[in-house]
């Protein structure tokens, strides 16, 4: 029996969802529940910390400023990590039946992310690191006596691990979607848009591909700046360009936080139709919308720099236009289409479907607050007030987190074959909506008053806002508590039914529907029927491409010319730029040789080794780009030359590794890798 042919369990889904809803298989359920469960645990813990901070601001409890900022830092990183982790699992759950992914890589993602979260926990609570999740350089190196150097290193290492974990996920998604749908333009639906493909990929595949590309770009930028800062903990002579570093930090942080919601959109495209009984199909408008989002997700960060007046004005103007532009695909495609899907559908209201629907509202309302803040004249009056906290909590908490709860409930309810009582659902949704919007609404009001964000001690006479906010937060927490109780009850039912799944069966005589049991063993072996995953070509294949690579190698050789090496000694920035040239030469050479069919055959299919290389080699190269390491070598010309060759060697390994990742992913990883040392040179001087 083909998995795709299996009917869906009607007990918790819309009866019409039969036919386009395959039963959840063991691997999808396990990974979905592992990631979402861990994410929810992390989010719940961070939520408690958030409540403690709000009560401190309300002067109900007396957390010291030192502890307040440690907790603030942990809360920020922990929440984003938890949300990303859970959403990655949720996307895996919906994507895997369409595009088989590698469970092994997903586990690598899990452990890297978990290790990163643990490192941040140690850095903040044990080490006392409290430079906030934005850690705007050079603040981490001005601790005001609050944290030791080791905590800086551990914090940066934690961020690096989380970013790398997400990167591994994105590589797998990109590799599989582009292989399955005939390249990047196929997976993004552009060939369908241009009329070259009769059929488009499903909406969640397009969403996943966009998230993967933007996630890889964000991870590359994040790896660069965090690696640079990690080196700075070892060598305090390294200078930091505050403006460039701020651009990079926000690019990384904003994009990672933002991508969680776009991951959620992919999940919603698949799961909400199951309750509406109407499949959601790709349209040309959807493809065009996501093409816009591909750009807007990565340009969105720049509105964090509106009040950095030295940022070029043209960049500010483009930033404002694209920040507004980001609204269009979200409002016109995702949110609007989902409400269309629901309209007149006899929507099946369950705990999961209610929360999915409520989460749409969180994105819409939070998005309006964000768009208002993204207009520069308004931002002048709202920048870094708690208005900002209000709008991102509205869509992160009342959309992303609510969707995560919805996803978890979806899996459990399907296993249990039942939903919670109507009264319980009403209490859960009611408490989350009233508590949540009251909680964030207080911040909107306080932001309009001009209360700055990240204040352990509130301005005189304003702690009442925090008290009201904390009271609503308690209602919200109560809603989560009722949710957990209901999930516990559903999970017990699911456990009792763990050996079989309920599926819809249509009686041949009467035409009536009833639940039939199918042993899990009949479904789960299908996981093993993973289609072969042929490598999708090599990054270079045509004579023109090889010719270009040879020319690029020749250009890269210039970085070794003694006059250029000497000229680059004028500053750390130029010196690093020269090292970037060595790396570029090596990477180009590696890509060229690894793409030669004869050598490629000898190297064999080693995607995991290739991935490890493209992740580690650029990071290792940048970690060595610390004056305290390379300056002692410069006295001896031989050692100096060896160091430059080592830079090229890291590049060579990167280029070779990229060829093991196929045409699209290999090229993407290669381009990002050669960009990283350049960004490094720009930010650290």
């Amino acid at each position: 029996m083909s998995v795709a042919d299996l009917p869906a369990p009607p007990a918790v889904l819309h009866a019409r969802s039969v036919g386009f809803t395959p039963p959840a298989r063991a691997s999808e359920r396990r990974i979905g529940l592992l990631f979402a469960g861990t994410g929810i645990g992390l989010i719940a813990g961070m939520g408690v910390l958030g409540l403690i901070m709000r009560l401190t601001q309300a002067t109900v409890i007396g957390l010291s400023p030192a502890w307040f900022y440690r907790v603030l830092t942990l809360h920020g990183v922990g929440m984003i990590t938890g949300a990303l982790l859970a959403m990655m699992g949720a996307l895996w759950y919906v994507l895997n039946p369409t595009v088989p992914l590698r469970p092994g890589r997903m586990l690598v993602t899990y452990w890297l992310t978990a290790a990163g979260a643990a490192a941040v926990l140690v850095a903040t609570l044990v080490g006392g690191f409290g430079a906030s999740w934005t850690f705007l350089p050079p603040l981490p190196f001005y601790p005001a006596g609050q944290w030791p150097v080791w905590s800086e290193s551990v914090f940066f290492a934690g961020n690096l691990l989380v970013g790398t974990g997400f990167c591994v996920f994105c590589v797998d998604v990109l590799e599989q979607t582009t292989t399955r749908y005939g390249g990047l333009t196929g997976a993004l639906g552009w060939r369908f848009l241009l009329g070259r493909d009769p059929e488009a990929p499903p909406p969640h595949v397009i969403a996943a591909t966009v998230v993967a590309i933007d996630g890889l770009i964000a991870s590359a930028v994040g790896t660069t700046i965090v690696t640079g800062l990690l080196g700075r903990t070892y060598d305090h002579s390294v200078g930091i360009d505050a403006l460039v570093a701020k651009n990079f930090v926000y690019f990384f942080g904003h994009s990672m936080a933002n991508l969680a919601i776009y991951l959620g959109a992919g999940v919603v495209y698949v799961i909400m139709p199951r309750y509406a009984g109407r499949p959601y199909r790709t349209s040309k408008a959807l493809v065009a919308g996501w093409a816009g989002s591909l750009i807007f997700i990565v340009t969105g960060y720049s509105h964090h720099l509106y009040m950095d007046f030295v940022q070029p004005s043209w960049a500010q103007v483009i930033s404002e236009a694209t920040s507004y532009g980001a609204l269009i695909p979200v409002a016109v495609i995702t949110i609007y289409s989902m409400t269309m899907l629901v309209w007149g559908s006899r929507y099946r209201w369950t705990l999961a479907s209610s929360l999915f629907y409520a989460g749409l509202g969180g994105w819409a309302i939070g998005g309006v607050g964000a768009v208002i803040d993204s207009l520069i004249p308004f931002n002048f009056r709202l920048h870094n007030t708690v208005w900002v906290v209000a709008h991102f909590h509205t869509y992160e908490l009342l959309s992303v987190v609510v969707w995560i709860l919805a996803f978890f409930a979806h899996v459990i309810e399907r296993d249990a074959g039942r939903t919670s009582s109507r009264a319980a659902r009403a209490w859960i949704v009611g408490l989350i909506v009233v508590g949540g919007y009251g909680f964030t609404g207080t911040w909107f009001v306080a932001g309009a008053l001009g209360i700055p964000r990240r204040y352990a001690i509130q301005p005189a006479g304003t702690s009442g806002y925090s008290l009201v906010g904390a009271s609503f937060a308690l209602l919200l927490a109560l809603g989560f508590l009722v949710y957990f109780v209901q999930i516990g009850s559903l999970a017990r039912t699911a456990w009792s039914r763990r050996h079989f799944v309920l599926v819809d069966h249509t009686d041949g005589w009467t035409g009536g529907h009833y639940d039939a049991r199918i042993a899990r063993a009949e479904i789960d072996p299908a996981v093993a029927e993973r289609p072969a995953q042929p490598r999708s070509g090599l990054p270079l294949s045509t004579p023109v491409q090889f010719g270009f690579a040879v020319a690029a190698c020749v250009v890269g050789l210039a970085a070794f010319v003694p006059q250029i090496v000497d000229a680059a000694e004028v500053s750390n920035r130029y010196h690093h730029l020269d090292h970037a040239g060595h790396f570029f030469f090596g990477a180009m050479l590696g890509l060229l040789l690894g793409s030669l069919p004869r050598i490629s055959r000898r190297l064999g299919d080693r995607p995991e080794l290739g991935l490890a290389t493209v992740l580690l080699a650029p990071a290792a190269m940048m970690l060595l780009m610390v004056p305290r390491i390379y300056e002692p070598l410069e006295a001896d010309p031989f050692q100096h030359a060896l160091f430059h060759l080592a830079m090229a060697g890291f590049g060579f390994a990167t280029g070779l590794g990229a060829t093991r990742l196929g045409l699209v992913t290999g090229r993407v990883m290669f381009i990002l890798a050669i960009g990283m040392p350049l960004m490094f040179a720009a930010a650290l001087k």
Binding site: L136, R278, F309, Y324, I328, T339, G344, L382, A448
Partner: protein, 179 residues
């Protein structure tokens, strides 16, 4: 000095409240309609018709609002002729202004920088209304032009997280009556 709502902020807050209420109402109506039965064809027919207009509306609003906003950018332009330059320096955890007072009606150019980490120069008028903010960055000078009409003591607060005493890092700037 207690904080008070400024007129622009009240307008912004009210606009948001109205839009949020409209959206919430729309979600409630759609949720109520979700329980009814309508053919998919009919939903598509009407839904896509509305969607085209929804897209057009958002594009028009965007072009008008974003376009107008470009005429009210806070970024300083031109030279310092006719302006009094006030050097603003932020540091953990202080503000230093030179000069620290000007007569009412002076066209001021705040030249804002930092000696250590990123700070935010947030300025409140004597009535506790937030006028606006600009970042103070090490190695860079952000220039903000303002004409301060009202005499009194203006309060400065830090608007970028800068460490342990961020929330108590404040300063003052005085505008005297008459020249």
């Amino acid at each position: 000095m207690n904080l008070h709502y400024g007129d622009p902020q009240i307008a912004i807050g009210a606009t948001f409240a109205v839009l949020a209420a409209l959206l919430a109402a729309a979600f409630v109506v759609i949720a109520l309609q979700a329980g009814t039965e309508a053919s998919e064809e009919r939903v598509h027919q009407v839904g896509y018709w509305v969607r085209e207009r929804w897209l057009a509306l958002l594009l028009v609003i965007g072009m008008v609002v974003v376009g107008i906003s470009f005429f009210d950018l806070p970024y300083a332009t031109g030279g310092t002729a006719g302006r009094t330059v006030v050097k603003v320096t932020g540091g953990q955890f202080f503000w230093a202004l030179q000069p620290d007072r000007v007569p009412a009606g002076t066209h001021v150019r705040f030249d804002v920088s930092s000696v250590d980490v990123n700070h935010g120069f947030g300025l409140y008028d004597p009535h506790g209304h937030l006028i606006g903010s600009v970042q103070a960055m090490p190695g860079y000078h952000n220039e903000l032009d303002l004409t301060l009409q009202g005499a009194g003591v203006y309060r400065i607060r830090c608007f970028e997280f800068c460490g342990l005493h961020h929330s108590t890092m404040d300063g003052t700037f005085t505008v005297t009556a008459g020249r």
